[in-house]
Symmetry: C2
Subunit: 324 residues, 2 copies
DNA sequence: CTGAAAGCGCTTACAG
DNA sequence: CTGAAAGCGCTTACAG
């Protein structure tokens, strides 16, 4: 049914070898212009596209890049990042296969089955998987955003930025608004560490941590707890949680930023529309994506690793964290 | 390097045929329990996983399901849907390959290269692609959300629900808040059609359409235009746009819902935290995803198509569209 | 400059 | 109950 290289060969009166040489522009072989033109024309006319399966079997590796996602929900940030990465890879003729780390079947089976060219790991991989990948010669791009160029954990760095901004605005007692989503727990813990570290560094008391789900009731409860502890500023896990906090403060009859300042993370468009507009930490996702794409290409080409993009995180100050 | 079925055969002292029979539990062949146990144990011990490429080449089709996304940004709704679909497929040993319809290379090359088991099309496919897929025996699941069970276009249906809700609250002059994102144009047009149709059906004047980007300035401009036309209610393309409208109304010194009512689409968590809380149209994405997964499995198994899930869309009424 | 042949790893008639 | 052999579509030494 499908047209194969043999069909193209037959139709253009040459061997499959020649077809392969022409279509892959194999370096080191010279094909007469007439033959080349004829093969190309025939291939186009027949709508020939080489079988990925056969190529993979032959080459021992596919044209697939496997993106291993963590078990947590993909927010708009990671979403953008994946899209941009897929675009860059597509330009190189590579398709991106997205795998949610649901643990449904062992990673080992997956990468063995798919024989990806590269694995881009947004989640930390198990030791055994890393060993196995290394042994199979599949290189791994670490996109878990672990280390920051300051040597600090990148997530902790974000938490630190939040606290430093709040403290610069005259706030002295910091609350932390985490999330009850268990899948985000590990991630949130790293943020909270940064928050706690920054408080310690600034001589503030340790942060008062509350986990919210995205309901008004849970936000109100958190606000009461913070209030009881004398909290005058809240660092939120992300903008969604931050907006929940704004609503909770309102519901408790208090005012932002007069009673409590709030800052989120991600700087989603909606943050600017809140009342009051929500301060946030921008993650410069475009530059991050470009860097990640460059890393992936470097791994593919065996080239040198690109220079890290410098600091990607900046505080976007809005009314919700105005200085008092 | 990688362990093959030949390795397993050698290590367990049988032929590759037997290994294949045991591992695939091929129906119609009987293998002695001793042999079966030995092969299974050996395969596990060696960490054997069959090569997807070889299987695909042999079978003429892969264990991949190709999800063809439209060119528009993936919102939280589609995002959820994809994740759930991927989970269901994973349980069946199928991996989902996501392809953004960027038109970077012709679809034809992609499906030919990948030989997917099924294509789940979230965007409408070109005639030529549909023909080619049919010819290659690759079935297509239409997930573009085109037809609604009422016979109405599903997107138009959502627009209708918005207008009917606003009109039921005593609003007489409807504004439409679209998006300047060109990738969403076609989608938004179908919504607007539903809005216009509902207005006509209710004897209201045609909607006053404005396209917004997600900035306060553009929202303010739109609000002024609506105001000049006497608009007292706005149906927004989605909750993000709806929240921008809320901010624009505030910036114009007007009040929601007293001067203008607003309703979005998607019912994202943040909608409930707005001031005032934003009304929305819930898309019951979980049920939609389940239906889509069932359709995909039905196609894979050649079974009958599952019953459509009934009406998935419901208005979530909040303060932003309170009756006047 | 071009072609015949081998082999990637799998499954499945076909023999025994 | 088990094995030897062919073939899926490709690429690449190796001959000519």
């Amino acid at each position: 049914m499908a047209v194969t290289s043999a069909d193209v060969a037959r139709a253009s009166g040459v061997s499959r070898t020649t077809v392969s040489y022409v279509l892959n522009a194999t370096p080191g072989v010279t094909i007469s212009d007439a033959t080349r033109a004829r093969v190309l024309e025939t291939a186009a006319r027949l709508g020939y596209a080489p079988s990925a399966a056969a190529r993979t079997l032959r080459a021992g590796r596919s044209d697939l890049v496997l993106a291993v996602l963590p078990d947590w929900p993909i927010g708009p940030v990671l979403d953008d990042l994946l899209e941009q990465l897929a675009d860059v890879l597509a330009e190189r003729g590579l398709a991106m296969l997205v795998h949610h780390g649901r643990g449904t079947r062992p990673m080992a089976a997956l990468w063995r089955a798919v024989q990806p060219r590269t694995v881009v790991a947004f989640a930390e991989l198990a030791e055994s998987d890393l060993r196995a990948l290394a042994q199979a010669g599949i290189q791994v791009v670490d996109a878990s955003g672990g280390a920051h160029e300051t040597g600090e954990d990148a997530q902790a760095h974000i938490g630190r930025l939040q606290v430093e901004h709040l403290a610069a605005g005259g706030r002295r007692r910091i609350g932390w608004a985490g999330t009850t989503d268990a899948r985000l727990a590990e991630f949130a813990a790293r943020r909270l560490e940064g928050v706690a570290g920054a408080c310690a560094g600034l001589g503030l008391e340790p942060p008062v941590a509350c986990d919210l789900d995205l309901t008004a009731a849970s936000a109100e409860r958190a606000v009461r707890a913070w209030r009881a502890a004398g909290v005058d500023a809240v660092a939120a896990y992300n903008d969604e949680v931050g907006l929940a906090v704004l609503a909770g403060v309102r519901a408790a009859g208090l005012a932002v930023p007069d009673d409590v300042a709030v800052i989120g993370v991600d700087d989603v468009p909606v943050a600017a529309f809140a009342c009051p507009p929500l301060s946030s930490v921008d993650q410069a996702i475009g530059r991050h994506a470009a860097y990640l794409a460059a890393c992936t290409l470097a791994v593919l080409d065996g080239g040198p690793a690109p220079a890290p993009p410098g600091d990607l995180h900046t505080v976007v100050a809005r009314a919700s964290s105005a200085a008092r």
